[in-house]
Subunit: 345 residues, 2 copies
Amino acid sequence: MGAALKRDLPQAHRSDEDALAALLNLVGGDMEACNDTILARMDSPVTLIPELATHIIAAGGKRLRPLLTLATSRLCGYPGDRGGKRHIQLAACVEFIHTATLLHDDVVDASDLRRGSASANAVFGSKAAVLVGDFLFARAFQLMVEDGSQEVLAILSRAAATIAEGEVLQLTTQNDLSTSEANYLNVVEGKTAALFAAACEVSGVVAECSARLTRALGNFGRSLGIAFQLVDDALDYAADQNTLGKVVGDDFREGKITLPVLIAHAGADETERRFWQRTVERLEQKPDDLRQALALIEKHHAIERTLDRAAQFAHSAKRALSEFPESELREALWNAADYTVCRAR
Amino acid sequence: MGAALKRDLPQAHRSDEDALAALLNLVGGDMEACNDTILARMDSPVTLIPELATHIIAAGGKRLRPLLTLATSRLCGYPGDRGGKRHIQLAACVEFIHTATLLHDDVVDASDLRRGSASANAVFGSKAAVLVGDFLFARAFQLMVEDGSQEVLAILSRAAATIAEGEVLQLTTQNDLSTSEANYLNVVEGKTAALFAAACEVSGVVAECSARLTRALGNFGRSLGIAFQLVDDALDYAADQNTLGKVVGDDFREGKITLPVLIAHAGADETERRFWQRTVERLEQKPDDLRQALALIEKHHAIERTLDRAAQFAHSAKRALSEFPESELREALWNAADYTVCRAR
């Protein structure tokens, strides 16, 4: 990432939050109600469960996925005058699925940091993190069962299976520089975009939209999710740790194959290829290797090109929204798609 | 466990299998159909998933839980002449939930053996075991969603949450000799009996039994599950590793608090109490400690007394069945309850 790009980060990051703040504003008290549901439903007589869950859920995070459920529901006119609460319960369900996968991700990656704080596995041990993840996953299913819609259940249970498939696929591409960009995108679609898509698609069901509009919501979520993950993967080679609560170089240290590395490797000369093989495939890393990796990423414009791809997906997301009539909410969702990418520019 | 008890094991174990064989016989081709469903539904384009799942699912195991679903369905007259297949799909669902918890258990316990063979985490790594467990869990939910019954969904999703609660509770009692027998039973009810109960209770729903009979099925499964786990915990201090594919002393080495230890500790003199504190609470174990633990377990008749408790629960299980009219199937389920305990006598 160029120095200019880096200088721009703090402001872009603020804009990102502005876009989300506008969305939050438009969903009124729904996010507060969703937070109440989350707190109430993560409770258990087994006190370690709410203790650990509070650590990861209540400690923050942007609540991006439940926000999408709440906002797209309203975009479709739900609950309108009927005062329904289904979107709130489903938003909580989506956040529980997300949190369960975060807990298991951190165990799998042996990460010590999450959102700038100690991860749950670092504080409570990886055993507890695995099992509380299972609890939250099961609780998510209870929430969707309570909704009672067969269609909602099909969407969310399929998404849960797809997420797990994406995570396993990611494991098999790890340390493998021959991973194709298509397979990398399969990983991203599974581990990230499937839940974004489901979070939006259920709104169409709850609001009794047409099949066409419900599909459009799913496409919006899927494209937005891919854009979001591409930016995340770019930030792993660029982010300011203090600003974003992310450790730069985590993916590099684990030998995770992401688009910035694939781009830099595709354009590499013989010496550079040997560098990537040693560091990312064989994980033989020396103290100065991350700096060298960042230099190669910059040399091949790998961040900019990753962000360009992200911008294409953000564009697709916006196009999917064009099926809906103009409204403040559509505008805010549109901006959220833009700022997903801008947070890194 | 006394020498006489140990000598009896091989034959008792055969009887156990005879009881299950009789049940298998009575469910006709249903178990084969269930196995076909299991194999078909654990498939995925992400090849590591069927590879790992085959390792744990196809490698055997008694299929006790799905067998209970199949047998109790028939006990209730399902499918009768209607040729329904719901019990087969739900039996597969139950086995998937069980397998997912096994995968996560082995990661949490860092076990290298499962059913006498290398565990999935030992062969494929614990990352893959966590994530494939998540996949099987999600796939189980897809299977139950396809069933379409709101009542079935409520029973199985509640069971999944209860299992996770039981597992977390077990984690908090680990290395804690002040655990009460009541709390130990809470762990057993959660981690084992909840799924046994759900596996039977769904049959009542599918067969459209009365609420009273459906509850009786749940009680049968719950009591049987508790008996089963108590015997399992007894065998951990008594089993012949070659016969049962279980490593003797696993629970001891991990400092897991089970009834045999609670009984031996309750009757311990000062020296013995210090032994348990050092080995099970502080996990400071020396090569000869397992032998000493087994001697103390025998001195306090802790195996026999654990099996007596198991027999009480097996009796409750049989009593729950008395709500049903006499039939070959009721007899076979009755015998299965008896032999659950006899396998260790």
